[in-house]
Symmetry: none
Amino acid sequence: MISPHKPDHRRRVGVERSQKTRAHILESAVGVFALKGAHAPVIDDFVRAAGISRGTFYNYFDTTHALLHATIEWLEDDVFGSMEPEAAAIPDVALRLATATRMYLRWAAAHRRWCAFVTHVPQIGTLARRRLLRDLRDGQKSGVFRFPHVQAAHDLAAGIVAQAVQRMAATPRAAARTDEVVHVMLQGLGVNPAELQRVMAASIPVSARPAKSASLFKTGSND
Amino acid sequence: MISPHKPDHRRRVGVERSQKTRAHILESAVGVFALKGAHAPVIDDFVRAAGISRGTFYNYFDTTHALLHATIEWLEDDVFGSMEPEAAAIPDVALRLATATRMYLRWAAAHRRWCAFVTHVPQIGTLARRRLLRDLRDGQKSGVFRFPHVQAAHDLAAGIVAQAVQRMAATPRAAARTDEVVHVMLQGLGVNPAELQRVMAASIPVSARPAKSASLFKTGSND
Amino acid sequence: MISPHKPDHRRRVGVERSQKTRAHILESAVGVFALKGAHAPVIDDFVRAAGISRGTFYNYFDTTHALLHATIEWLEDDVFGSMEPEAAAIPDVALRLATATRMYLRWAAAHRRWCAFVTHVPQIGTLARRRLLRDLRDGQKSGVFRFPHVQAAHDLAAGIVAQAVQRMAATPRAAARTDEVVHVMLQGLGVNPAELQRVMAASIPVSARPAKSASLFKTGSND
Amino acid sequence: MISPHKPDHRRRVGVERSQKTRAHILESAVGVFALKGAHAPVIDDFVRAAGISRGTFYNYFDTTHALLHATIEWLEDDVFGSMEPEAAAIPDVALRLATATRMYLRWAAAHRRWCAFVTHVPQIGTLARRRLLRDLRDGQKSGVFRFPHVQAAHDLAAGIVAQAVQRMAATPRAAARTDEVVHVMLQGLGVNPAELQRVMAASIPVSARPAKSASLFKTGSND
DNA sequence: CATGAATGAGCCTTCATTCAT
DNA sequence: CATGAATGAAGGCTCATTCAT
């Protein structure tokens, strides 16, 4: 060993480069998944998109599925993570759910490529669903939501959002009707008309800006 | 003169055998699609499931996609076709939609393999959706449904049913909660409580029995 | 046995039909070979061209190669057989070879599809070559041909004809230059100018008309 | 800073290996084509002959036809390219054509496997034919060649050489008679006897040695 | 760590051949 | 004899994976 500093320096440089390469692969992968779906892409697609070699790909991911899951996680952190704090800060459960859903659907409407991605990759959203269940139970307890079973309420909320996103992906130029969707959702959860009126009139936080993926999905809104 | 019956007889026999083989491949294919999804299966899967040779497969279908579409068509005719007449006979639009949905979800709950199939093959159901749209517009006009936009109402109805079916496929032993699902669906469409009570109390026609596929999907109910 | 005549009658009818089917397959096959070459066609091509079933094909030929050879034989009999008697009747060897070659090349020029066929199927012509060798030796003995070795002379005569036919196949609209080809051929065989003049001035028998295949290859002449 | 030599070195090594493999496949392919013809061989034949895997084959050639064309090009460069300069240096056109043809046929006689190859792959030789046409026209202008049409002369020269090579391939142990073939060829082109004598008496350059393919085709001469 | 040539298993497709009717 | 559905061997092609450099 010539210098005791070198190994550490090398390691640090290595880790930095490693993280950067990994992030670079993930970024490129989103575009590939959005374009070709969750299962069609082959390793070469990612290799080409990222401008790396086959060998390098295997240094970071074992299979395309591993990459898919890493990509989903990475995006969820970003998309939901950027909206969650805003919504979580709202104490009123009906307003919270309404606002979170409106935020998400508006963002989706403005990023139709994202709609295509989640339509192709249904595994996405588990994180959001856990929060949804909690909100539904809270709302049921407090009496603002009225439904015969939380399972059915969950089917309603999860189903309508998924369906709306699918529709946006299928008809990219049509109006998104996001607030109308949230309206019937709340109606289905048993929110009374006055309350419904109130929560839909609330303004939406403006700061909802997923950082990493915004540019990847940015297309244009028809809200 | 050779007997004039012979050639005809030969042809008839050939056609019969051909039809039988085709039907046999379709029947086996349903199970494969339900198990592996719409795109994952390879020709060998169908070949093995049907107990035929590769060559025979190609005598009937060029690609797995051609088989998929043939299978969808074959099943839709059967499943929806068997329930439609029953439901169509009901003049009251709310009762009609409620009953049709209850029938379908009960049947799905009793045939969990069907749930897996439609979950994996989302193209299914276009036939049913067209009728759904008509019913929604009718109900809106007559005032029994109240929602801000038919698109949102459609997302609600289509989404909640799809989501319920997916849930049944994912948790085969859990209770299906079919009527609760229909309850929140109608609530979301703006049906008033008294009306809701009434239509949900109605009895369901018992004759809904898809012929071809019943045995293929029969598993057991947790309604 | 009811009648002693029946079996014979049946056999005769059978043989007749059999011969007819065989000839029908051969006729159709010529077109297929001319179009697709000697090796590319598959059994289905012949089956389709003849309007018969696969099974019937196998009743007459085991492989496409067997059919190819049968077709060659069938055509050679026809094409060469129709010209040979005319030429064989000429006692003068130089005139005989010249006239036979002129006849063949003119016929080939008028049937370009035939040129394509023999270009694709080089096995053809063995019959003609045996006569060629005999003529060459005769002419050498009688002094009208002068060449250092009969093998070389054969290469010359066989080569130039094959090449000319290939050229006609390759450039179907160009002039065939049949007599010029025969001219240099005879020159190469050492025929002296006066003799050459004489034999090329002779008229060609008009009756050279292959019967079976004429219509199959008929295209148009650019002699 | 990482050593700047490394990436370049890696690339250079990769390119070298790649070139070697490609050349290796081409070398092995010649034998396969010579043995089985231009169209009969399947990818496995080349894979086995080269001792590589199917995948590797596809890294270099998409189809057997692509390989065929690459092989032809590769050999033509070699075989004709090695003889052309020698012959082109001869100013006298009759002597040039005679010597070039004698060189080629002798070489062919000494490499019978080559004869088999060109017999099976008739596309070969376009390069040589262009020069042939030029020589024929030159000789006709200068009066040393006498023939009624250059097309016929070309058929003669190209046809006799092709035929001689085919014969050598068909009867590998027989005498090649190369000079006798050239003799009748010149006679056919109208070269007068004295001139013919002269050009055939000339000595042949000894240096005609195709480099790449010599060992591939070397078999033994029967000139 | 990065590279990309080499590998071979897996899947797709064609087509000669058989055989019950 | 004629028919054509069924067969499966043969060949084509893709792509995940390995490994020497």
